[in-house]
Point group: C2
Chain length 299, copies 2
């Protein structure tokens, strides 16, 4: 079964109203927002990655889901497989650092032992609090599409983390993403739709448009790239296409009515319209979509 | 690191007040009670176990933690590794059946892919609601110790599930435990201390006494055994010692003041007193504790 088949099968189970038909990354329980993510050694991270970085990223990606709901972190539950003492201690040190950094204390968890040689599988469930959360599906025709920060740094960082020469800043963007919690809080009350960019800017924008029953047009030239990324990968169309189809940005993608100014630093990169589908333009006009617009079946 | 070392290390992380210093099986967030459990193929269940039974047990053991807090289930989050289609569908069917049976709908979750051949690791986080929850540590000297249902059925059921001849009823007690949600709700308002019996009656009673800063004496002859268990394993001292040191009962163990009658069917099996430690008596007077009183480092 693909992930999509499995989620379709999950919809046949008794669903809580707060599950929102499993069409969002989070569940809602009154003012609480819940999200959970699992990472697997050799799938979501490399065996040689530093344990403290793995811990940072596991918590950060969950907090990014909370940020996209405008939520303040309340706490986290950890499901952890005991293994090598040194790795376990480094993981806990990294987790503690990340918890302090983003003000998300431990609520509880569970530990297990794995059969010898089995890859680590680590889950974290984060709980946040928000009075109002923009849905992924709330964009309207005419709304402008914005993104926080810069796009593509983590994608380049993965290349550097796996052996290419390049600046540390990009590798760090991959290893230690910063969830946009402050921005999410400010946007929670005003964005018409919001989600985080985890699988690639193009695919995630297409998902927002699809959930909203709209088309979206993105201006490739407007997508914000960092100076480090431009120095590393250039700034031509191919470099930009690589940036908008790479994953792990953990920036916030959101829709605002035309004429309204976002309350946070963000770049306008596109526009929603009646219709369906994603289209792309560059300075010279419409361009074809790349074959792969992001991580499609990333589980 | 042992589980105990790891939990001690977790206490050095920033802790949410609702984590209750990680001294309980659940976390508390206002009226919400949260608990999470992970099961591993080849560790917590056998590869040949039916997927629907694995799903039942995973949800049931989490709901048993909620029952011990007097909580009504609100919903559950699932972390699931996609694998074999048939197994995945059977698992979902079993999960749906269990969710309907115990009125605990799906709130959300996450799916991942595992490297080929890796053992399944499945986590479930259950959320419940309770206005008051008895702590594990609330027993007072003179309180009586009670247990719901019968003890040892699941332990015998494991022997039957792994090849011995014996009645189905015991194998089912092992494969499909029933969380005592109704009893937990009734006891939530009146029990002085409560927990579920998961690692063995003796070890769990010793933990309640330790958390309460007390000694506990248990009357082995008073421990309730089912007629099926007595027919299968006998009713002598050794059979009773096997029952009280086996795990997976998922009954409720609770303390009540002397003279008060529990509002649910339960058996009085012991008494708390000033001091420390666990002692055991039979009809003839004090008897020695067995070498192993339960699953000590069960992670």
């Amino acid at each position: 079964m693909t992930e999509a088949d499995f989620i379709a099968a999950l919809r046949a189970l008794p669903l809580h109203p707060g599950a929102q038909q499993l069409r969002d990354d989070t569940a809602r329980l009154g003012e609480l927002v819940l999200t959970t993510d699992t990472i697997v050694e050799g799938v979501h991270y490399l065996s040689e990655d530093a344990a403290a970085d793995v811990a940072w990223k596991l918590l950060a990606v969950n907090l990014s889901d909370l940020a996209a709901k405008g939520a303040v972190p309340e706490g986290a539950l950890l499901n952890y497989p005991l293994g090598d003492d040194g790795w376990d201690r480094d993981f806990l040190n990294g987790l503690g650092e990340t918890m302090n950094r983003f003000d998300c204390p431990l609520l509880g968890g569970d530990t297990v032992s794995l059969p010898h040689g089995a890859p680590r599988v680590i889950s974290l469930t984060a709980v946040g609090r928000a009075s109002r959360s923009p849905a992924r599906s709330g964009a309207r025709a005419g709304d402008m599409l914005y993104v926080t920060g810069t796009i593509g740094d983590a994608g380049a960082g993965l290349r550097i983390a796996t052996g290419e020469d390049g600046p540390d800043s990009l590798a760090i963007a991959y290893r230690r993403p910063h969830p946009r919690l402050g921005e999410g809080r400010a946007l929670g009350a005003v964005a018409r739709a919001m989600m985080d960019v985890s699988d690639g800017l193009l695919i995630d924008a297409a998902r927002m448009a699809d959930a909203s029953g709209l088309a979206v047009a993105i201006d490739l030239a407007a997508v914000p790239l960092s100076s480090d990324l431009r120095a590393f990968a250039g700034d031509d169309r191919n470099a930009r296409l690589a940036a908008v189809t790479a994953g792990d940005d953990y920036e916030l993608l959101f829709a605002m009515p035309p004429g309204e100014t976002p309350p946070v630093a963000a770049t306008r990169i596109g526009r929603f319209a009646a219709g369906t589908g994603l289209s792309l333009q560059d300075n010279d006009g419409p361009i074809a979509l790349p074959d792969r617009i992001g991580f499609e079946h990333r589980a």
